[in-house]
Amino acid sequence: MELPFVVVTILFCLGIYTIITQKNLIKIVLGFTIVESSLILIFVLVSYQPGGTAPILDKAYHLVVDPIPQALALTSIVIGGSVTAVMLALVIKIQKRYRTLNVDKLRKLKG
């Protein structure tokens, strides 16, 4: 079980690298969603135990995974969807104002 934590680390760093270096505004928003997905994945990985069942107790059970991080992950997903919608609306407004999606040209037009 060493591999999933390495994958989470690589996904987080990839998202941060996208936010820093990419020029297109839509790809920057994609970077935000990658970071958010990696954090949800680590919530689920912390709650998992080998041999456990899902937290729905309609039958006899032996070992149950932790329900608290799953509730937090559910909260995080819904908030992430609405935040993505607000960011994309701002992207459309920027494109209507300055007629470009490139970050460098945006910076030049301002000064």
């Binding site: 934590f5 690298y17 899902a54 729905i56 608290i68 819904v78 609306a89």
Partner: protein
């Protein structure tokens, strides 16, 4: 070139720090007693009456957080309604044939049945208010994607959606205040003496199904407003 290497070095150092942090999380002592989770797992079904433990955490033990989460959705819908001008624009160049128009009519009852099922069985099976609300919000989205935004706003006007969203928000708070009248905490369920019923039936678990319905109404109307606002921008 030097700037790019600088950024790459920053990200790599951040990755090394995160790797140490995550390996610490991985090596946590899992055999030690975790009292909160143990209490939720062993006593949760008797105290709340809901089989799905995630729902019992989300709507009973931690219901105040759910109220805050609904407030974030309301804020997002309000910001998008501010940003949008009054013009009405379609998606660029979308004219469909009659097959699509006719088949959309047969598609809507499936979506409505699925949404009501997911909302009503939220305390017995995976799902709940948020997922069911998003599925119900697909109906106005489908109308505004196929028939155009004029028809969608003729069938369901924005004032109607706003009123439905307000009914969801106010109903959640009133259901919470119902527990205060009996002399208990805000949004208390089991301690306030509501009948819990037999665990596993449809009408059980006290206030949780009604809270699910309110959250479903609120999320569905809010996401429909957000989608229509994003489409109307020209």
């Amino acid at each position: 070139m030097v700037k790019k290497l600088y950024k790459l070095g920053l990200v790599v150092s951040l990755g090394m720090f995160l790797f140490v942090l995550f390996s610490d999380i991985h090596n946590l002592d899992r055999t030690s007693k975790n009292y909160l989770s143990e209490h939720y797992i062993s006593e949760g079904v008797q105290e709340t009456g809901a089989i799905n433990l995630v729902t019992s955490v989300l709507y009973d033990y931690r219901a105040f957080d759910t109220l805050g989460e609904a407030t974030v959705l309301l804020t997002a819908a309000t910001i998008l309604a501010f940003l949008v001008p009054v013009t009405k624009a379609d998606m660029l160049g979308t004219t469909f044939t009659i097959i699509v128009y006719q088949a959309t009519k047969y598609l809507i009852p499936f979506i409505a049945v699925l949404g009501v099922y997911v909302i009503m069985f939220g305390h017995l099976s995976p799902g709940g208010g948020f997922v069911g609300g998003v599925v119900m919000a697909l109906i106005p989205i489908l109308l505004s994607l196929t028939y155009g935004i004029d028809f969608s706003e003729y069938k369901l006007t924005p004032n109607t959606k706003k009123v439905v969203e307000d009914i969801g928000a106010i109903g959640f708070i009133l259901l919470g205040l119902l527990a205060v009248l009996t002399g208990n905490n805000f949004l208390a369920n089991g301690q306030a003496g509501f009948p819990l019923g037999n665990a596993g039936e449809l009408i059980s678990a006290g206030l949780i199904p009604y809270l699910n319905v309110m959250i479903g109404i609120k999320v569905g109307a809010g996401l429909a407003i957000i989608f229509n606002s994003l489409m109307k921008e020209q």
